[in-house]
Symmetry: C2
Subunit: 299 residues, 2 copies
């Protein structure tokens, strides 16, 4: 970030870089099967803040990795995030029509294509992560794949959180169950990008532990902020249908704890996260900025 | 295979070994989220010939690998195969009620759980492939992951074949399109297990090429045989609804070429496959037996 650049400008610049890489890392719309590749690209290149890739870049660069070495993993993580959104939006799941201000993938391409586009983005992520790159350290490559596959899995992870979220609909969910859902569904795939940046940069185990602690806290803070925004925002601001969680009788942080307590908890988590990474004594300025940014709109 | 053991007994014994490993390589039914793990295990442990894992074992052992080093990849491939069946059976896709003689995953657990169980098996496959194993060669591990992610992908691969298959329904499909569908939808994920066995065993590039040539031929032969069986079998023999392809007006090999020509083509492919692997001058007896077995019921 240059002296005159605001943090928002910085994030937008990183997002543009990520988008260029994403564009190259999935097959073009003229490669058969064209319709499927169109659907993948429609959802993947629909904008979005590219928070997860930015975390990989910020963590990896703080420990000293080159941006080019971080980008494939950063993009693979965004592919997995996008696949999870496509599948979550399906009629059998959350049945959402709107995502990032546009019709959801199944609304635009039909259910069969949307299911397969999600499958394909998940698969392509692992193809990108295992790409032939002679200068890459294979040991680290395997470690990165393991970290991501675990975070995207079922046990305290992405898919486990999604099923728990679905199962909790219309039920009285206690605070600890809600925290489990948030930690799994959102937290795991926000923590992993941070850790992965560290692994690629060759971080020590102690450094990885600190990055993980940071990631876990901002992951939960992010979901609390998201819950708060769902209550307080309009459709235009969100780019998706607001109040959906309430309408679906989904458990949210503000529903259980109230908005003020939720905001205070999010702030506390961000403070803890900032303190942890500042203990690395590295150039973690960007990680600190991202942590604060995550709750900025909700506090 | 011992002197008194028939080939069918041999296959059944290998399948039982594979099942034991599969049982250990996915979370138990008492691990939360229980319902999701039940659905994964319901589909994964529903029987089946375990053809793909057997190919990895046969190819790897021919080149000199230990069974224990081959099993994780063999099982990961079966997980991916199972995920693709679960998603193909969904109402938005082939809308099948019966699979391996039992209700399909979405019939037994509902659509949301079935979609997520498929996602989870695909993800777990990559977790198993990237598992921490100090004695494993990380370079080879990455190569195996790349081979499998490519075969399960969109370009001349599993998902590409499935979408082409769906798109071809009710259309007049020519012979070359049909061969593309077969090569992609079934062939890629029959070739990959053979190649992966070779990679784990440390096969040379020349050996890998031969294994790939073998795999491509038996992959196509397998799908032709499957098409023939769909026409000639009863529901009880198939464990799934027969005549589905015809009913859905799906292109099949016998529909385009007739049964006799289809049988001749399958036999020819198997002969070529056997000739290729016998050129390896290794203990490829099992690969040859599997090739012949693949078309046995249809010829």
């Amino acid at each position: 970030m240059s002296a005159t650049e605001t943090f928002k400008d910085y994030l937008a610049r990183r997002a543009a870089e990520v988008n260029q890489w994403l564009d190259r890392l999935v097959p073009s719309e003229t490669t058969p099967p064209e319709q499927l590749h169109r659907a993948m690209r429609y959802s993947l290149l629909a904008g979005g803040k590219r928070l997860r890739p930015s975390l990989t870049l910020a963590a990896g660069e703080a420990v000293g990795a080159d941006t080019d070495d971080l980008m494939p993993a950063a993009c693979a993580i965004e592919m997995i995030h996008t696949y999870s959104l496509i599948h979550d939006d399906l009629p059998a799941m959350d049945n959402d029509d709107l995502r990032r201000g546009r019709p959801t993938c199944h609304k635009a391409f039909g259910e069969a294509v949307a299911i397969l586009a999600g499958d394909a983005l998940l698969t392509q992520a692992f193809r990108v992560l295992s790409a032939d790159a002679p200068h890459r350290d294979a040991e680290r490559q395997v470690q990165v794949i393991r970290e991501i596959a675990t975070a995207a899995g079922t046990v305290d992870a992405l898919i486990g959180g999604q099923i728990a979220d679905i199962e909790s609909e219309g039920k009285n969910v206690d605070a600890s169950t809600l925290e489990y859902i948030h930690r799994s569904k959102t937290g795991a795939m926000i923590t992993a990008p941070v850790v992965v940046g560290g692994i690629i940069a060759g971080a020590s185990e102690e450094q990885i532990d600190k990055l993980r602690g940071y990631g876990q806290r901002i992951g939960l803070a992010f979901q609390i902020a998201d819950d708060i925004l769902d209550v307080t925002s309009t459709s235009e601001q969100l780019g998706k249908t607001p109040g959906k969680d309430q309408a679906a009788n989904k458990a949210t942080y503000p529903a259980i704890h109230g908005i003020a307590t939720s905001q205070a908890r999010a702030r506390q988590l961000v403070e803890e996260a900032v303190e942890i990474v500042s203990g690395l004594h590295l150039k973690t300025h960007m990680l600190e900025e991202i942590a604060r940014f995550i709750i900025a709109r909700s506090s």
